[in-house]
Amino acid sequence: MSDAYDILGLTSDCNEAELRARYLQLVRESPPDRDPERFAKIRAAYDEIRDPVALVERKLFIPSKTDTLETLEKELVERLTSAKFSSAVLLSLADDV
């Protein structure tokens, strides 16, 4: 899990805006045209970090300095307004509660 963050040169407590800005910067440095292999790695890492299921798991099971229920809840609410979860994901979350 931390591999993806390493590839992007980010820490696991970065927020959405930091992630996006860093991703765009790296893509400009390694465009698919000029450096396809590096781009593929960057993109895979970016997708992995953005995957909502992986995100919830990570936040639940990997300790970090922002790891309080309040911050987690706040971040989830933030993301829920911007991202669309499939009904299956929402139902599985409800089961855990």
Partner: protein, 601 residues
Amino acid sequence: MEVIIGIDLGTTNSEVAVIRSGSPVVLTDDGDPILPSVVGLDPQGKLLVGRAARNQYVLAPERTIRSIKRKMGQDVTVELGKEKYRPQEISAIILRALKQRAERALGHEVKKAVITVPAFFNEGQREATREAGELAGLEVVRIINEPTAAILTYDPNPPEMERLLVYDLGGGTFDVSIAMVESGVVEILSSHGDTHLGGDDFDQRLLDLVCDRFQTEHGIDLRESIRARSRLLAAVEDAKKRLSSEPVASITEEFIAEKKGEPLHLSIEVMREEYESLIEPLLAKTLKCVDDALTDANLQAQQIDKVVLVGGATRTPLVHHMLSTRLGRPVHCEIEPDLAVAMGAAVQGGLISGVEVGTVLVDITPHTLGIEVLDYSDGFPAPHGFSPIIERNTPLPVSKTEIYSTSRDGQIVASIRVFQGEEDDTRLNSLVGEFQIQGLAPVPYPNQILVKLDLDLNGILKVTATERATGLAKHVVIENMMERFRKRERVGALDRINELFADSDDDSFSPTKPGALSIEASFDSQKEENSDDAELRETIETARSLIAKSETLAASAAGEDAAEMRGLVQDLQAAISRNSIDDIRRVSAALEDIVYYLSDV
């Protein structure tokens, strides 16, 4: 630095552009940026490309080919003169004309090109396009998607992140792509489309309406005569364009047919509402694609910042109306719908050759790739299950691995069949390639096999199958799913194209001397009529329309030409009254030359 030209190889029209002082410029011939995608042979068997070929279509549909793009990737041939050509070869002729245009404009040889294709083209159609480029003497450094190219003409550094929806409705194909543009990076989020839907279909519907009415009135189906059909096609195309700005268009063609020796004229009025009700079902299909693209991009219509229209068919007011209603916002037409794609291709060419244009492009594969598996989802084995490995709308390049296993004890051979498509049943998807991995360990099932797919920016797919326990690997590179020309065929194709170009000085029309009498019987129509009577009738019918056209032209032609034409018209009328088919053809050919020459200038 080597110049890479950008080419929009369209169904109806094609264009070529290059980067000049940092911006894309469309190259013109005599001020005209558009090269109609039409190829033909003149009565002397000389190659015609572009406007000259399109002009001749009405008079000589049997030696003129249009809309070849619709056949790209299919295993078919088209006839032109005495030869048969693959779709790639006809496209190659158009590409070669564009290459020559670029060379004239730039003053030096051009060897490399970026060519655009509809986003929804599959690998086979892309490969056919690549091959056409090679046959035209161009190294195709990249095939890019048309809507993507259009986006590349936009500013990649908007003040805030922008989401664009490109609606690209051309002569024969439809695409919709959604892109996110931010800080110099253009990311394509999703693409949908229909590779057989475009302005040509609008023409066809209008043609059917006109023919049905004529048939009701006169009992004659004009679609059965290749000549009448081609004349009408030109007429309805014109009417279609007028209906974009006028509420009603009249379609008039004289001497379109004959009944009991009496010539019949066609004169029909079409209201815009009538026309719109004809094309509405086609546009409804495009809106379904728009919805699918939004769903795939995980976006709501209101999250789109700009709607960009590309392609000549987006000039139809109904397109604007339906699209702005569906998306709840006005649509944008600030870019030139006919030229944006070629300009974007030039930008991509600049990116590849290292010109600083300040844009990075992240494009996607529009179709899912996977392999065929035994599918147990219904409890019993079904042999044509499709297991996706690279999902559609995945950014390129991409590398993905999935784990599969053998299905019986001691299985030593596994067959890997790669498919492209969205259906659960491989029979409904298209086969990309197949190979076998042999010499597996004879162990009880399940013996795990890793299947890895690498898809690069050029759509070249590498497939690797590895037996997990032993590391036994086999990989193949699949460049296309379609059977490529064998080497000999390819040489033959190149020879045929070279021969055609050798006979013509360049791609522009060089007139034969007006009045030079052609003795070639150039009317060997491919459509065989069963009886001589039918043949004679059609010949006379054609000759009559030629006479009508000549008389109109003679009124405005220079004295010498006019006199020559009048003389030939008299000869032709005499030949018609004698019912001498050979004479009619001979004189028609001569007259046609002049008419054709005069209507071109």
